[in-house]
């Protein structure tokens, strides 16, 4: 692999080919650049030394970005143009183009309705999620630590875990009414199990050698828990929390669709019934953006807490 051929190869790739070319090939070339540059410091581009090189690099990165968001852009284009040019007029009513939906979204934001619904949804899923995380982590630690408790509770937990949360929605509504309590409860219920199971798994999979090492230092049970078991289980627990975050929003929307006077789920269903179709799509769009945002945040938190676990063996060589 000599540098001249590499340069030629890259030059042919800049331009339209880079943008539409296969992502793998582009990836490979950037990697080759990196390794050659690392191996030979003389090849490393100094600032302003080889502007063409940097330009190519930017082009590659830009191409990658375009490719990465291509599907989204295509989808949005289809949404915008499809209803107008592809769909029959009767369907167009039920599937307004993107700009109409965005206008509706703008109106909902301007008159403050969306904020109200969002706030209602967020406070419900937030409290349900919070309750679930606290109780599930606590119970998970207990269950994982005391084998007898595990053998006692596990069959029951298995039954509940395998009962879809939404199947219990009528029960929650009958027992707790259609107010906030039933909605917070069902969110808590749905978010509870991913956290619980991951907490148990996290504590169970602590390396026994680390426990031996800590014991040999004369740590008490409590110290062992606090300094070895908990930190070691944290990444797994956060995986559970992230899963719970996603499911808490999913379940809440469904619950709000069934019986509520505010919230995003209510907004969607109510708009549908009032034939405010653009508003309905605005609600759906908000839900998916909210889901993305929550997942993104929780992934960030999870990554922060499992930094030490990443790249086992990959950076040692």
């Amino acid at each position: 692999m000599s540098t001249p051929t590499l340069t030629n190869e890259t030059e042919t790739r800049t331009g339209p080919a880079a943008a539409t070319g296969e992502a793998t090939a582009q990836h490979k070339t950037t990697e080759q650049h990196k390794t050659t540059a690392q191996r030979n410091p003389a090849l490393r581009p100094g600032p302003g030394k080889t502007p063409a090189y940097r330009l190519r690099l930017y082009a590659l990165q830009g191409g990658k970005a375009v490719w990465g968001s291509g599907a989204i852009i295509l989808f949005l284009l289809l949404w915008e143009l499809g209803p107008t040019y592809l769909a029959p007029a009767s369907t167009r009513v039920f599937l307004p183009p993107l700009h109409v939906v965005l206008e509706a979204l703008g109106t909902l934001i301007a008159n403050g309705q969306l904020q109200n619904h969002l706030a209602a949804s967020l406070s419900r899923s937030g409290s349900g999620f919070g309750i679930a995380v606290v109780t599930a982590v606590a119970l998970g630690l207990l269950v994982a630590w005391y084998g007898a408790l595990d053998r006692f509770l596990n069959p029951l937990l298995e039954v509940f875990r395998n009962t879809a949360a939404l199947a219990l929605l009528p029960v929650f509504t009958l027992l707790l009414g259609i107010g906030e309590t039933s909605k917070i409860s069902i969110v808590a219920y749905a978010a509870f199990f991913p956290v619980l199971l991951n907490t148990i798994a996290g504590v169970r999979t602590v390396d026994p050698l680390l426990i031996r090492a800590a014991r040999s230092l004369g740590l008490s049970n409590f110290q062992l828990f606090q300094k070895v078991i908990l930190p070691s289980a944290v990444p797994t627990i956060f995986t559970g929390i992230r899963m719970a975050g996603t499911s808490s929003i999913l379940v809440l929307i469904a619950a709000e669709m069934v019986g509520a006077k505010a919230g995003l789920g209510y907004l969607i269903v109510n708009s549908q019934m009032s034939f405010l179709i653009p508003d309905m799509y605005a609600g759906i769009l908000t839900v998916s953006l909210l889901g993305l945002l929550v997942n993104y945040l929780l992934v960030g938190v999870e990554r922060h807490f499992s930094r030490w676990r990443t790249a086992v063996g990959s950076r040692t060589a």
Partner: protein, 302 residues
Amino acid sequence: MTSGTGPIPKISLQNITKKFTVRPSKDNPEGSVLTALDGISLDVSAGEFITLVGPSGSGKTTLLDLLAGLTKPDTGQVLVDGREVSGPGRDRAVVFQQYALFPWRTAAANVSFGLEGAGSDGKRYTRKERAEKAREYLGLVGLGGFEDRYPHELSGGMKQRVAIARSLAYEPDILLMDEPFAALDAQTREQLQTELLRIWATTGKTIIFITHGIDEAVYLGQRVAVLSSRPGRLKEIVDIDLGDRSGDEDVRSNPAFVEHRHKVWSLLHDEVRRAQAAGHAKIQPDGTAPDETRTITTGKAA
């Protein structure tokens, strides 16, 4: 350096026996008893470096666990400074073969692990003192400047150095080492052996070092204790006199080394063959051994 003379020995094992109950399994419906150690008596004086060799399943690790206070003997006593060992303590430190570093802690935080909380004398270190100690001991094992690295960023040899620094940091009198260099490549192992001798010379710790390697045992130990195949009994203790080992010369080709090595080899040879014939394998920390059911069937046949 002979044992049993003068004042109280640093470590004294008195007629130790340790048995494990093997839980009933499909192949072994009644369960059975595995005798890991049988009547071990050994005195180690302060500042001594003793190595322990024996075939697989001869109870070397069990012996170390007893010394560390992680298990209790069925009969006999383990004395440290004349007092019976009742549990783990900060006068003893264990270095494990698989390093046992806490992966979520940096090298420095690993080293200062044993310094957190109140020590045996009630002394507490401040965060700053702990960081200083960590730096000091990482420097001692030749890892100055690696304070902020996580274990996954370190090589095997470096990890074991961190583990050694962690054991030394809370200043125990005794270092218990369970095949610490077995997972390392030959070059790193030799390097760490030399460094361990240097650290031993500077700190004056009493070291009990378990190994599979005869060369390693002879090179490091002032005495080499040879254990028999299961049940582990103390077969013989070989005194090693190689003169000054700190020099640069190649001790391993020295005639005295070769002679000692051969002596330990012949002692161990029969035992290893016997252990292999019986199919002995390592005793797990929970007291089970993968070969145990097979031993019983051969026992019945004999």
